[in-house]
Subunit: 336 residues, 2 copies
DNA sequence: ATAATGATCGTAAACGTTTACGAAGGGTGA
DNA sequence: TCACCCTTCGTAAACGTTTACGATCATTAT
C-alpha cells in the first residue's frame, strides 16, 4: 500500500540496505548518496513503518500510562506532565483510562505488554498490585502517586500519610474533634494511605474514631455530596470533614450548604490535591497542595532513565513535598 | 527474550503454523490439538507480539486521539467517551496531548501514522487543518468537536455558531447591548466559530461591535481573569461577557469580583460546555451545555465503523444538540 | 477396490525494517 | 608493485507473526 524502503531503493538505484542506512543516519554511507536517497524519500512521501522497525530493534519509543480516571484534574495534570516530558525526549505516550475498574486496568496492562511499549507508568486503581508486580521483570514499570510496599520498585509520589497529617494536625489545632472522613474507593491506594493517616492522627490525639463519620466511596463530586448528605441527615453533626480529594470536597460543601449550614461557619472542610478550581475566590478551599505536573514529569523521567540504562538500579524513586494551603473553608472552634 | 510461537511449537511438537492457528481461533485445526497448544501457551506465559502481528495483518486494533489540552474538562470528557467506546469494541486508544501547539499536533499526527494506528480522531488546535486533510486518503480520520469545511470528511460535533446564538440571543433578550467576548486562541476552530456567532448575532440585532470588547487568548482560567481585568481597567464597563468556555468564565467572574463588582449584579457572565464545576451552588454558571461524553463516544463509533467498512461512504457525520442552561450568572437589565 | 472428499497439519513466503558480514574499490605506505 | 586499510555498498538473515498452498491421511461414495 504505502511506500516502502524498497520503492525508494529502486528509484535511487541502490540496495535497500543503503536506503535504510541513509534514513537512520548510519555512518557507513557516503554523504552524497545519503542526500540523494533522502531527497527521493521525501519526494515520494515516504513514511517509516514504526511497526516493522520495532520488530527488529525491539523498542518502540512508546510509553504507556495507566490511570484510574482521566477526568480527574489531579490525574489529568499528571498525564500532562508525563506527556510533555516524554514528548521532549522523543517518546510518545499511550494514555489508558480505566474508570476505576481493576478489570480494565488489567486489560490495558496486558495490551500494553502485547504492544511492546518500552515502559509503563501506572497510578494503580487498587492497593492490590500483584497483577502489576508480576510483570516488573519483563518491562520497566514506575508507579505514580503511589508508594508500593514491595522490593525493587520505582515510584514517584508524595508521602500520603504525612500529607494527611498536615491536614489533620491543622484541624486538631483548630480545636476540631468531630472530624468526618469522606474518601475514595475503599481498596484504592490513595484512600488507604489517607485513611491510615486519618486514623493515626486521631489516635495520636486521643480522639475516638466515630464509625459513622467514615465513608469510602468514589472520587467524584456527587460522591462527596451524597455521602455528606447522608451524614448530616443521620448523625450527630461533625465540626469538620476531611475530604478524600478536592472534587469530593466540592461535593461536601455543596451538601452542607444545601442543608442550610455554612462552610466554615458550621462545618470546616479540607481537601486534597489543590486543583485549579480550589483557588477560585468563590471556592477558596483549604487543601493539601500536590505537585501534580511534577509527579507526571518525574515519573516519565525515572521511567526513561531506566529504559535507557537497564543495568542500573531498578528501584530509583522520588518522594516529593506537598504542603498545606490555608484558604477559607476551615475555622477554629472553641473547645468545650 | 520473551516466549514466541516457536517455543510453544517445539514443546507441543507441532509446527508453529499450527500454534498460530490455535491462538487465532482458526477453523482448520483439530479441537484437541488446539486445547493442547493453548494449555502449553498458557503454562509458558506466552504473550502475543502485537507488533509482529500488526506487520502482517496490517491493523493494530489501535486508535489515535489528538486533543489540544488534556487538562480541559471538556476535552477530557470527550477522551473518556472515546476510550470507553473503543475499549468496549476491542480497540485501544493512543491519547496525544498537544498543549495548543500546532507543531506538536503535527508531530503526534506523524508518529501516529508511523505507528500504523487503524484510525484517528482529532480535535484540531487550529482552524487550518490542511496538514491533517493531507492524510485523509491514507487513513480514516474523524474530527471531533469541529466541523471541517472540506468535502468527504467525517466529524461529530455540535453546531457552534448555533450554540453561540443560544447564548447571545438570551443575553440580548435580557437587554444586554454591551457584551464583551473573551474567547480562545485566535486561530482555534472553536473560537472562530463562536466568534463568528457572536458577531452575527450582534449584527442581527443592530448592535455595533466594540473592538475593545473582544479578546482572543487562551482557554484557561487565568486567561479569562487577565483579560477581563484588562477590560475592566481600561474600558467602558460591559454589562455582560460571553466567555469562550466555562473555565474562561470562571476566570472572568474571578476578575469581576476582585474588581469589586458582582456577578450578575453588575455584569452578567455566560459560559460554554457546562463542565461539572459549573453547576456547583457556589458557581451556578449559566452556560451552553454540550454533550461531551457523547461526542467522544460517537467519534469512536463513526471511526470504527469506517475502519470496519472501508468501502462505505467516507463522510459519515453526526451533529449533536446542545442547550442553554440558565443558572445564576446572568440577569436582565433595563434598557436605557 | 478405487476415486473423491474433507479434515488437519506442515512448508514456506510475506510483512518492512535493521544489521552482520563480506566484497569491491580506492588510497596509502614501504 | 604489493600489501594493507578504509570507505562504501550489497547480500542475506533476522525479528514474530499470518496465511496461501500443498501434502497426508482417513473417510466416504461409487
Amino acid at each position: 500500500m504505502s511506500i516502502t524502503i524498497k520503492d525508494i531503493a529502486k528509484k535511487a538505484e541502490v540496495s535497500y540496505a543503503t536506503v535504510s542506512r541513509a534514513l537512520t543516519n548510519h555512518p557507513e554511507i557516503n554523504e552524497e548518496t545519503r542526500r540523494k536517497v533522502l531527497q527521493i524519500a521525501h519526494e515520494m512521501g515516504y513514511r517509516p513503518n514504526a511497526i516493522a522497525k520495532g520488530l527488529v530493534t525491539k523498542n518502540s519509543r512508546t510509553l504507556g500510562l495507566i490511570i484510574p480516571d482521566i477526568t480527574n484534574p489531579f490525574l489529568s495534570e499528571v498525564a500532562q506532565g508525563m506527556g510533555d516530558y516524554a514528548s521532549q525526549n522523543g517518546y510518545q505516550v499511550f494514555l489508558c483510562n480505566c474508570n476505576w475498574d481493576v478489570q480494565r486496568e488489567k486489560e490495558h496492562l496486558s495490551k500494553l505488554l502485547s504492544s511492546r511499549v518500552d515502559g509503563i507508568v501506572i497510578a494503580p486503581v487498587s492497593d492490590d498490585i500483584s497483577h502489576i508486580l508480576r510483570h516488573k521483570e519483563e518491562i520497566p514499570i514506575v508507579f505514580a502517586a503511589y508508594k508500593p510496599n514491595a522490593e525493587k520498585c520505582s515510584f514517584v509520589t508524595t508521602e500520603d500519610v504525612r500529607n494527611v497529617s498536615l491536614a489533620m494536625e491543622y484541624l486538631v489545632k483548630l480545636g476540631h474533634k468531630k472530624i468526618a472522613y469522606i474518601g475514595g474507593p475503599e481498596s484504592n491506594s490513595a484512600d488507604i494511605a489517607r485513611f491510615h493517616g486519618y486514623r493515626s492522627i486521631l489516635e495520636k490525639n486521643a480522639i475516638a474514631m466515630e464509625p459513622h463519620y467514615v465513608i469510602h466511596d468514589q472520587y467524584t463530586i456527587s460522591s462527596g455530596y451524597r455521602n455528606t448528605k447522608q451524614i448530616l441527615e443521620n448523625c450527630d453533626l461533625p465540626t469538620a470533614v476531611l475530604a478524600g480529594n478536592d472534587i469530593v470536597a466540592l461535593g461536601v460543601i455543596q451538601a452542607i450548604e444545601e442543608f442550610g449550614l455554612s462552610v466554615p461557619g458550621d462545618i470546616s472542610v479540607i481537601g486534597f490535591d489543590d486543583i485549579s478550581y480550589a483557588s477560585l475566590n468563590k471556592i477558596q478551599l483549604t487543601t493539601i497542595h500536590q505537585p501534580k505536573y511534577k509527579i507526571g514529569e518525574l515519573s516519565a523521567k525515572v521511567l526513561i532513565d531506566r529504559i535507557q540504562n537497564p543495568e542500573e538500579k531498578k528501584d530509583s524513586y522520588e518522594i516529593l513535598e506537598s504542603k498545606l494551603i490555608i484558604r477559607k473553608t476551615c475555622r477554629g472552634i472553641s473547645s468545650y
